[in-house]
């Protein structure tokens, strides 16, 4: 296993490099620059601004400079937020997104997995339809509907929470429910699917015939195999959760990293977008590694190869 992990880490380096190169050139290709504004600035102003930031150099040279600086830990300045560097912005945004992501993940798993398991035990019965219908509703309602709905009921009508913001402990609740609820629906569906597959297998029947209680059957025998598809799904999903959700962060006014993915693309804030993308890329690579290790651990028939 150690060899496997080391090998994966080594491969990740060229992978990350390719991601950086592709993303960089993609961003540069998009028309419009960071300094275009509604009030047209005369060309020499734009030229001066671009010179200040080194944007007048050829693209591959800019990329080289970027990589050189990045490896030394300097991710460059933001163009849109002129007073802050990309390091500053990621440093302030990531902990927030991380916290939101953790709460959401917790909710997604705590609601989704049990719901899926319960549903899979007696398929096509009432204990199946109720959780699955709720899950479907959760999937149908995108976050930009669920969020305002929850706010409308719990914050405005009942007055229990603030409608937005991130100052108090209880400000975490509604956004985590919104984001987590959405993923919970997915997790529930996938868990049910996976469990159904496993529960129909012979070894389960054997265990039951041997007199094992249902609880024991599920815990000791079925869960391992049944959770496999969920885990495959959760790998990238977790990376996504941890780097924040644009919609939830703008609806609840949360100063996280998620917004930057979208806004920096729109603002052509190249370096901020690169920083966010690389951050996300590292997380993805890491989470995929974790998921692959977990898969082998859960399914003894697999080997690292």
């Amino acid at each position: 296993m150690i060899r496997f992990i080391i090998r994966r880490v080594l491969i990740s380096i060229p992978v990350l490099f390719i991601i950086a190169a592709l993303a960089f050139f993609m961003i540069k290709k998009a028309p419009g620059g960071p300094f275009a504004k509604e009030r047209s600035a005369p060309p020499e102003i734009l030229r001066n601004l671009e010179a200040q930031y080194g944007l007048d150099k050829p693209v591959y040279e800019q990329f080289y400079i970027y990589v050189k600086n990045a490896l030394q830990g300097d991710l460059g300045p933001s163009f849109r937020y002129a007073n802050w560097s990309v390091n500053d912005l990621i440093r302030s945004g990531f902990p927030v997104s991380l916290e939101l992501g953790c709460w959401s993940l917790m909710i997604a798993l705590l609601i989704g997995i049990p719901a899926g398991i319960i549903a899979s035990i007696k398929p096509n019965s009432i204990s199946d339809y109720i959780p699955m219908s709720l899950a479907m509703i959760g999937i149908c309602l995108p976050t930009f509907v669920m969020g305002p709905l929850l706010v409308g009921v719990f914050a405005l009508w009942l007055g229990w929470y603030n409608s937005s913001g991130w100052d108090f402990a209880y400000d975490r609740v509604l956004p985590a429910l919104t984001l987590g609820g959405y993923y919970a629906a997915y997790v529930a569906r996938m868990t049910r699917g996976g469990m159904l597959e496993v529960l129909s297998q012979d070894f389960i029947r054997t265990a039951r015939a041997k007199g094992a209680s249902s609880v024991r059957v599920i815990r000791k025998h079925a869960l391992r195999g049944g959770l496999l598809p969920v885990i495959s799904f959760l790998g990238p999903a977790t990376a996504g959760l941890l780097t924040g959700s644009f919609v939830v962060e703008t609806i609840f006014d949360i100063p996280g990293l998620g917004r930057y993915f979208v806004t920096s693309a729109f603002n052509r804030d190249y370096l901020l977008l690169m920083g966010a993308v690389m951050f996300y890329a590292i997380l993805i690579v890491f989470m995929n590694l974790v998921v692959d290790v977990l898969q082998v651990w859960l399914n003894p028939k697999l080997r690292f190869d």
Binding site: A23, M26, P142, F144, G152, P236, Q295, L302
Partner: protein, 304 residues
Amino acid sequence: MAETLEPNLVELASLENVEKGTSLWKDAQHRLFKNKMAVFGIVVLGVLALACTVGYGIARKAGLGHEIQDLALGASAPSAKHWLGTDPLGRDVLSRVLYGGRISLMVGVVATATSLIIGVLYGAIAGFLGGKVDSILMRIVDILYALPFTIFVILLMVVFERSLLLIFIAIGAVEWLTMARIVRGQVMSLRHQEFVEAAFALGLRKRRIILRHIIPNVLGPVIVYATLTVPAVMLLEAFISFLGLGVQAPDTSWGVLIKEGADAMEEYPWLLIFPGAALALTLFSLNFLGDGLRDALDVRASKD
């Protein structure tokens, strides 16, 4: 002696409890249609598709096009003239929902099918072949996954002219990645099963094994995920429109309608309820259909 031993074939054939031979697919079909919920799903989907095509045409003839505005009327609750109410520009919600359904259903089907085909093939090959090939293929998936979606969409929209086709491509290009990953996981666990080893022993070519033996067995979770992909695709389309990169006015889709409805949720709830209900209905039906399909295609289930 000889008479008693000779089987009377004609007699045998006429016995009623001799079952006719069937194929795997016929079996599946039979099981599917026995599943009431699945049939319900198929019917509802058919009705919706019909409503969005033919039904919209009828509404249009009756003078209720999706882009016809009535500024003086503004948003109004469901009434005799406008069965589902009107939006702030006085447009009839029913025709907008039906028209939007065309685009949403098309996007849903096409993009999901695309991501399904690419994802399943890709994942199966990676999971089956394992080793270096799998490593490289999965790294490519990682790379594509990490690239920023918004910029990708903006670029597509700009470099090629705006079209619906482009939206399908953009969405399909993103969704197949997770599908591939899931399929790969499933295939990897199947690879070591006995029937696969048997197939190898029989000397079957790898391609045949993948196509005829592996893929039908992973269809279970794949179908489940496919039924989850359709709403994701529809909502992704809504997100793209939300960012302003999607279908152009006055064209519309359920995603756009839901977004418009969410903005005005408190004042004009019907703007959200009806498109939301249409989407939910579609998804529920797809859900039941998907479950039915999975049960039907489950090779391990007994025939009755």
